[in-house]
């Protein structure tokens, strides 16, 4: 009883010596409180757990998996361990010595004896091919012929495929003969390894991803700005309308959510294509020449128009919900104090909508930075975004490591932007609804 608990002192016991508080039946107050709160905590836990489990299995776990894929690099290590051992002492300039080729032969022979599904040279070939084209055929062709090889193995290998005589392949094998790699990130940032092992930029014609990241960022900013410019007035108008009419307008704003993607896309094509409604109308009115029809789809314009349309509700909803809570008396007060309507709007009304603008902006921006389907359908070549490239690597080139690296970079970018926003504006001021 006499021993004073430090946390009890903090609980407003005053300067006097803190005594442990007890309930009337003698249990320490803290324990009694804990017991009383336990029920509530259990209920809270029960309410949260299903979603938590769901999120962990379908969200956190896959993302962790993806990030792991972007650095995972066991293909070469598990295929040719002996070779890698021998390569340790290689200087990396001339072709490796006979000992390395002998080890490679031994590794390949061992692989041949494994059941087909456990063979490791196939994945190794694919992995090497990311770094050097034709490496895959070198590996597969040799691994099939390796049973007939006889010493000296160096000649046998270089005869089987010329690449084995190229020190560049060996440098790659040595570099990537580690369980973890950064090479996917190197590629995702449009860089490559030079012969001396340093990382340099690719030459300009082969840079794809960094410009694509830049374009994604640019398009997202443009789309966010467009949704803001279009959404602010309508949200304001809805906020001053009576509830019934406001709801009707809200339905119009929400329509893009309720329309099938295919219907929407074909509607845009009908409207925007070169022989489409808008172009024909403009030509009919004599505003543009028949030869100068504007291209508005299958390019950046198409992506911007379509995504602005789709993402508009994400801007309007938070704006509207914030504006609804701003009483008209603020504007009246400002006017009664002598501010012109425009000053009152600028100084009094607008600053109070900032939480809504922030929330809408962050929402639209983050969604559009990772948007995939619309750019794929109406973006053409110049309206593609980074997600389309990621999808291509997952579905077509099957370079999941690179896709994972691009995805991780995208995720990191979003987190950095969110962090920046938090530093500059503060996320606690966001109002999503």
């Amino acid at each position: 009883m006499a021993q004073a608990d430090a946390s009890m002192m903090g609980a407003g016991q005053g300067p006097a010596r803190a005594e442990k508080l007890v309930t009337s039946d003698g249990t320490p107050l803290k324990r009694a409180l804990e017991r009383a709160e336990r029920q509530r905590k259990l209920v809270a836990l029960g309410l949260v757990t299903p979603l938590l489990v769901f999120l962990l299995t379908v969200f956190v776990w896959p993302i962790a998996q993806m990030m792991w894929l972007s650095v995972k690099n066991d293909q070469i290590v598990s295929a040719i361990p002996r070779t890698l051992d021998e390569l340790r002492t290689w200087d990396g300039r001339d072709l490796p010595g006979e000992n390395v080729f002998a080890a490679l032969h031994a590794d390949f022979m061992e692989d041949l004896e494994r059941p087909r599904r456990e063979q490791t040279t196939g994945p190794m070939g694919i992995r090497l091919n990311y770094e050097l084209s034709a490496a895959r055929s070198a590996v597969s062709r040799t691994s099939r012929a390796v049973a007939g090889f006889e010493a000296p193995y160096k000649e046998a290998f270089t005869d089987a495929h010329r690449l084995w005589g190229d020190p560049a392949l060996w440098r790659i094998i040595k570099r990537e003969g580690r369980p973890l790699t950064l090479s996917y990130y190197v590629a995702a940032l449009d860089r490559e390894y030079a012969d001396d092992g340093s990382i340099v930029q690719r030459d300009e014609r082969r840079r794809i991803y960094v410009p694509l990241f830049g374009r994604t960022l640019y398009l997202s900013v443009v789309i966010t700005t467009m949704t803001f410019l279009l959404g602010f007035p309508i949200a304001y108008y809805m906020s001053i309308l009576p509830m019934r009419q406001a709801n009707l307008l809200m339905i119009c704003v929400l329509l893009p959510f309720w329309t099938s993607l295919l219907v929407r896309t074909s509607a845009w094509i009908v409207l925007l294509q070169q022989q489409g409604v808008i172009n024909s109308g403009l030509v009919g009115l004599g505003l543009i020449d028949d030869g100068n029809r504007i291209s508005m789809i299958y390019n950046q314009t198409g992506t911007i128009i379509a995504m602005t349309h789709i993402l508009l509700p994400f801007m309007v909803l938070p704006l509207y919900s914030v504006m609804r809570t701003i009483p008209p008396s603020y504007m009246r007060a400002a006017k009664s104090l002598g501010a012109t309507p425009s000053t009152a709007f600028r100084r009094v009304y607008f600053p109070q909508t900032l939480p809504g603008i922030g929330a809408g902006g962050v929402l639209v921006f983050i969604i559009s930075i990772g948007y995939y389907i619309t750019p794929a359908l109406v973006g053409g070549q110049s309206g593609r975004m980074i997600s389309n490239e990621i999808a291509r690597h997952i579905q077509q080139s099957l370079n999941w490591g690179l896709a994972a690296a691009l995805g991780t970079l995208l995720l990191a970018g979003v987190l950095i932007l969110y962090w920046l926003y938090n530093r500059l504006v503060g996320t606690d001021s966001l109002k999503f609804g």
């Binding site: 009246r332 006017k335 009664s336 104090l337 002598g338 501010a339 009152a344 109070q352």
Partner: protein, 365 residues
């Protein structure tokens, strides 16, 4: 009734207002407010008092009629050019600005220099005893403090007319009473004209020079507080201001300023003829509970009746007695808390009486 004098500082001249084109919210309003006057618009909700205030502030336009401020018609002057200070029901302090910035706002939009601005803001804050709070945000202040800031903000640019739209409605009773006195003192010190809207009659009686009682889009009576209470001109005002016993009957005879009214149960009461046409018409008699005398003193009164005590409610300084008088079970009498009052008991019979001038014969309503 309010006469349209045309020489008031603020004047409403035959002003009407309709929102839907079918019903009039304000019907033929004529009101003149003198310079430096504290005028209160009092009435139940929907009586048109706030609409009048909003028309004066410029947030609503009069459907017909003219409003003049210091002789100038202001119907087509936008609110920000009227130079009228206003205190809103929920204070409308700008939440994203500090108290100091809130107060500086009206000075800033008038293009006043920084040093002068600061001086005025400080003076205004000192006036409401909030000098130490300039750096706070409105959300960090209590309701009463926000009230003071709103008041200071409406006064800081030295308008000649200040409008207040139920400014004390959100405060608790004690604070409300204290703020009433403070607003009154500020009004006396600055000499500004104040138009004050409230539905709280105590507030109206405490603070005002003149009270306009609104009902049904019309001013029912315009008078100083004491006249309003002592001499209501119609049944609505009598019922709305203070507590009131109403007895309904028919005028039997008229004799100069007095008349006799016969009630449903046959008893005849002598009353002051205030708002009745003549013999034979229906009338509502209005009688304040504290003007009724109980016990032996009733014997000297011109109106004397036998009453039965139905209920006693102890209220500290006085006792409210519900009685049956002239067939009316809801007749209330206020008895001072003294020996006579304490000795009353439910079921007891007692004589009650009142003077002719305390009983006013009004319209039947």
């Amino acid at each position: 009734m309010a006469a349209s004098q045309g020489d008031g500082f603020v004047a409403f001249d035959r002003v009407q207002k309709s929102y839907d084109g079918e019903t009039l919210v304000v019907k033929d309003l004529n009101l003149s407010i003198g310079k430096g006057e504290f005028m209160t618009m009092l009435g139940p909700s929907g009586s048109g008092k706030t609409t009048c205030l909003m028309m004066l502030a410029g947030f609503e336009t009069a459907t017909s009629g003219e409003i003049t401020l210091d002789g100038r018609p202001i119907n087509s002057v936008p609110p920000h050019k009227r130079g009228i200070g206003m205190v809103f029901q929920n204070y409308a302090l700008f939440p994203h600005m500090t108290v100091g910035e809130n107060l500086a706002f009206p000075l800033e939009v008038r293009g006043m220099g920084k040093s002068e601005r600061e001086k005025k803001v400080k003076r205004a804050l000192d006036m409401v005893q909030m000098g130490a709070f300039a750096g706070r945000r409105p959300a960090q202040l209590s309701g009463g403090q926000q009230q003071r800031i709103a008041l200071a903000r409406a006064l800081v640019f030295e308008p000649e007319l200040v409008l207040m739209d139920e400014p004390l409605g959100a405060l608790d009773k004690n604070l409300r009473e204290r703020m009433q006195y403070e607003i009154k003192h500020i009004h006396n010190n600055l000499g500004v004209t104040v138009v004050y809207v409230t539905h709280d009659q105590t507030e109206a009686l405490t603070m005002s020079d003149n009270v306009a009682v609104f009902d049904d889009g019309r001013i029912q009576q315009l008078a100083p507080p004491d006249v309003l209470y002592e001499k209501p001109e119609n049944a609505f005002v009598a019922a709305f201001i203070g507590e009131n016993n109403t007895l309904k009957g028919r005028v039997q005879s008229v004799n100069g300023r007095e008349c006799k009214v016969k009630l449903g149960d046959g008893s005849v009461i002598s009353a002051l003829k205030v708002n009745v046409e003549g013999e034979g018409v229906q009338s509502t008699l209005s009688l304040r509970p504290e003007r009724v005398v109980v016990g032996e003193a009733a014997a000297e009164m011109p109106n004397r009746f036998e009453a039965e005590v139905l209920e006693l409610i102890y209220l500290g300084d006085h006792i409210r007695v519900r009685m049956n008088v002239c067939g009316d079970d809801e007749f209330i009498v206020k008895v001072p808390n003294n020996t006579g009052g304490r000795s009353m008991a439910v079921g007891q019979k007692a004589p009650v009486g009142w003077a002719v001038e305390d009983c006013r014969a009004l319209d039947p309503s």
